[in-house]
């Protein structure tokens, strides 16, 4: 009897010890192994797909507008008053979806109702109405650029990346750079909307005013309001919504899609990659919410490009768009040099402070002329051009 009891006790002691040991062993290994060089060696090495997507001769970019807004305090003040960076952009009561009810009381339906009959044919009137109904209409600018691509055989293509925000500002910028005529003449083959944000997309009727048949390319993160806006703006051409990450477009040009959550309830972004003969890869973005290094990393993983070298960047890099800062942005400033870009044409949501830090770090930032309300010569401003491979 005593012996049986003793055996039972011993077994229980063993189990108690074993239970204690499992916890101790697991946590000890977690601590000793997880952040060690052995653990790093276990991580799967990236296998490069090296997809051949062709080569082209050159890429020229004209900055139609990089000034998406003119006053940070007003823009971020409106967002703050509405409840912060997570509030749905269509609720903010910004033009062209103002309904006169004030902060955060807007909606796509109530906003578009006031101008639906006027777009895209009478944008002046539509904007005039919205100036009365929306918050800070004078603050709206927009982002758009013209991309001219020359293939190796000399054939050229023109594309628009994004279409601004304010009807008034975007239309004026289009006229300044001759985009209106190019659209009317159907010289521009496609409009890429990088993402659904107000400053890249809400000027959509301006492009439709001049060419409603233009093929439009978006990605599958668009919300129902955005898709409805494309219809309500009178678009009659083909609409393509990218689902895959890598989408070759013409020889030497690919559209890359990123599933990235973005402020004010926006999801996903597309950016463009160009393989320039003898130079390397050029990355062009609207806002680059995915981050320029993520963009470069996906291109590096998926694509085969000249000299296996990154050559250039153009566009918003979305680092300090409101001149805010975070130590993680310094991680980018510190790291970017290692990627070897030879021409950095940044602007828009890159932020002046970031451009200044890039220049201080000795990076090849192409300076601008600070014209047409662009406020800093530290980066490419409105009306400035940059070329790769020319």
């Amino acid at each position: 009897m005593t012996e049986t009891k003793q055996t039972g006790l011993s077994r229980r002691d063993f189990v108690k010890g074993a239970a204690t040991g499992v916890c101790a062993g697991t946590f000890a290994t977690m601590g000793l192994y997880s952040y060690s060089p052995f653990a790093k060696n276990r991580l799967a090495k990236t296998t490069r797909a090296m997809k051949d997507f062709g080569v082209l001769k050159s890429v020229k970019i004209t900055n139609i507008s990089e000034t998406s807004w003119f006053n940070n305090a007003n823009l971020i003040g409106d967002i703050h008053a509405a409840g912060g960076l997570l509030v749905n952009q269509y609720d903010l009561n910004w033009p062209p979806f103002g309904n006169g009810k004030g902060t955060a009381q807007g909606s796509y339906e109530s906003g578009i109702a006031s101008i639906k009959d006027l777009i895209p044919q009478d944008l002046d009137k539509a904007w005039e109405i919205q100036e009365k109904l929306s918050l800070h209409p004078e603050n709206a600018g927009g982002y758009a650029c013209l991309i001219e691509v020359e293939e190796l055989n000399g054939k050229t293509h023109k594309y628009l990346l994004d279409t601004g925000w304010s009807y008034k500002w975007t239309d004026a910028a289009f006229k300044r750079e001759g985009i209106d005529k190019m659209l009317q003449n159907h010289e521009i083959e496609a409009l890429f909307i990088s993402h659904e944000h107000w400053d890249h997309f809400w000027g959509f009727p301006v492009t439709m005013k001049y060419d409603p048949t233009i093929p439009v390319f978006i990605q599958d993160g668009f919300y129902p309001e955005g898709l409805q806006y494309i219809k309500d703006s009178g678009h009659t051409g083909p609409l393509t919504s990218y689902k895959k990450a890598v989408n070759p477009f013409i020889p030497g040009m690919a559209v890359l899609k990123f599933d990235v959550p973005i402020i004010n309830r926006v999801f996903g972004e597309i950016s463009l990659a160009f393989n320039v003969k003898d130079k390397g890869l050029v990355l062009v973005s609207g806002c680059c919410h995915q981050g320029i290094l993520k963009f470069a990393d996906l291109a590096h993983t998926e694509l085969n490009y000249e000299n296996d070298r990154f050559y250039g960047i153009y566009g918003g890099l979305h680092i300090s768009p409101f001149e805010d800062w975070d130590p993680k942005y310094d991680d980018l400033v510190i790291s970017l040099g290692k990627w070897g870009f030879e021409k950095i044409g940044c602007n828009h949501c890159t932020g002046h402070l970031t451009a200044k830090k890039f220049i201080e770090a000795g990076y090849p930032v192409i300076r601008g002329t600070a014209r047409f309300r662009s406020s800093s010569p530290d980066y490419l401003g409105n009306g400035d051009k940059i070329s790769f491979g020319v």
């Binding site: 189990v15 997880s34 276990r42 912060g84 959550p261 999801f267 993520k294 409101f322």
Partner: protein, 467 residues
């Protein structure tokens, strides 16, 4: 032992009002309703006050957590008398104690941090000063809130640690409020030191140029953590916060409560919590690397080391919620086995539950909390709703005696004696069989670890649960 010799929480026994799972279900429903109502009123970006900016809301919920801990654990409900706590209806008691905590939080944030520290010490605690120096108002508020919040994050590890691990020593015999004031002062002082060592440099490089004369820039952890962001520290500090409560609840202070010598047990507990937390932080970071690939410095969000460290803290918080639920509303089930077996079973169950909560959260939160869709947006802060929920658990159990499913009754003298005896566990003894079991268990633990780290890359390659 007399009731007045132990704290109010130790002196009461929570008794179910109804048999079976009804009390847990009733309380879950009650908390769910209060959670959603208060979330909508205070935090939701679509709601009324919209504090989820996110740092303002984050600061408030972290400081509320700290105040609850101070009121219940550190001050033992002083200045409220035990007799009042015994006889007052839970709803009234909860409302009064909550209002008291909110008022104290307001005083701390507005008067101490913003008005005193921000005006006479460090400018970044005061949003108005930042705005006057050219920072956009929204970001000025966010920066100040982030700094004030980090103080609370550190204190929410150190304050309960002093009670749970250090057993209030060496001031355990002081009467209230002397004991509370002493422990709050010392833990506040320690929090300040930890803050300067971990977060001050992070704040200093928020401003251009880097504030090199006032803080170490770039920070000393840059090479080790692969980022200059203070999120590296948030990772292990959040894990400390979580491990303190795991140790107090589902682990029943095991295994350090086997140590009979007071100073050794307290020291081992305090530092043991830190070591376990750091191990957990490294492990969770490694899990991210296994699932998503190695972090790339300078990238944003999912691939960025700074976000990966932040997400370590977020994952840890996902573990705390089911652990507290199990402890508060399921009577720390299971309890029928020996203490070590109960502990390992609870650890396993709550870890699984944490994974489920994590999945459900990321799949649905944007639909009903107004948060951003996806994993890694800077404004997707699962810590806020999770801590908001934990705050409600604490209000319900500490301030309202588990109403409506439970009621408080005074413990008998015998039960109070058991509280005293429980400080050192007597049900686990060192024997040769225990030692063999321990060795076998350690080997098993190592095997469990390697099984997990082999499973994660395979699983993440085959299945995508959250897009």
């Amino acid at each position: 032992m007399e009731r007045n010799e132990v704290s109010y929480l130790e002196s009461r026994k929570l008794v179910k009002r109804w048999n079976g799972p009804l009390p847990a279900l009733a309380n879950s429903l009650f908390i769910a309703i209060v959670f959603y109502a208060t979330w909508w009123i205070f935090q939701d970006p679509r709601g009324i006050m919209r504090m989820y900016t996110p740092y303002v809301g984050y600061m408030v919920c972290r400081w509320l957590l700290i105040l609850f801990i101070w009121v219940a654990y550190i001050f033992d409900f002083w200045p409220f008398k035990k007799a009042w706590l015994d006889r007052t209806h839970p709803l009234i008691k909860g409302s009064v104690l909550l209002a008291f905590s909110v008022a104290a939080m307001f005083l701390l944030i507005k008067v101490f941090f913003i008005d005193i520290l921000g005006n006479y010490g460090i400018a970044y605690f005061n949003p108005e000063r930042l705005t006057s120096m050219g920072i956009t108002e929204f970001y000025a508020i966010e920066y100040a809130a982030e700094a004030i919040m980090m103080f609370a994050a550190i204190a929410s590890w150190l304050s309960p640690s002093w009670v749970v691990a250090c057993e209030n020593a060496p001031w355990q015999d002081l009467p209230q409020p002397a004991r509370g004031i002493t422990i709050v002062t010392i833990t506040f002082f320690l929090s300040m030191i930890v803050y300067f060592l971990t977060m001050h440099s992070h704040m200093a490089i928020l401003f251009y140029p880097w504030q090199k004369f006032t803080a170490i820039c770039p920070p000393y952890w840059e090479e080790f953590a692969n980022t200059v962001s203070g999120n590296f520290h948030i990772a292990w500090i959040m894990c400390c916060t979580v491990v303190v409560w795991l140790y107090e609840t589902i682990w029943e202070r095991y295994p350090f409560n086997l140590i009979k010598t007071n100073w050794l047990r307290r020291t081992a507990s305090f530092f043991g919590i830190i070591i376990i937390a750091v191990a957990l932080a490294f492990f969770l970071y490694f899990c991210e690397e296994l699932a998503w690939g190695p972090a790339i410095r300078g990238t944003r969000r999912l691939m960025a080391p700074d976000w990966r460290w932040l997400h370590v803290g977020e994952m840890a918080i996902f573990w705390l919620c089911p652990s507290l639920f199990l402890s508060f509303y399921c009577n720390n089930w299971p309890t029928k086995f020996s203490r070590p077996v109960n502990v390992i079973l609870r650890t396993f169950l709550t870890a699984i539950a944490a994974v489920l909560v994590y999945i459900v959260y990321y799949k649905t939160s944007h639909l009903f909390l107004g948060t951003q869709k996806g994993f890694s947006h800077p404004q997707q802060f699962p810590m806020i709703p999770m801590i908001w929920l934990i705050n409600l658990f604490l209000v319900n159990v500490w301030f309202m005696d588990g109403w409506p499913g439970w009621k408080a009754v005074p413990k008998t003298a015998e039960e109070l004696d058991k509280v005293e005896a429980e400080i050192v566990a007597s049900d686990v003894k060192w024997t040769p069989k225990f030692a063999y079991g321990l060795l076998a268990g350690i080997a098993g633990g190592v095997a469990v670890y390697f099984a997990i780290i082999n499973f994660i890359p395979w699983f993440s390659k085959v299945y995508t649960i959250i897009k």
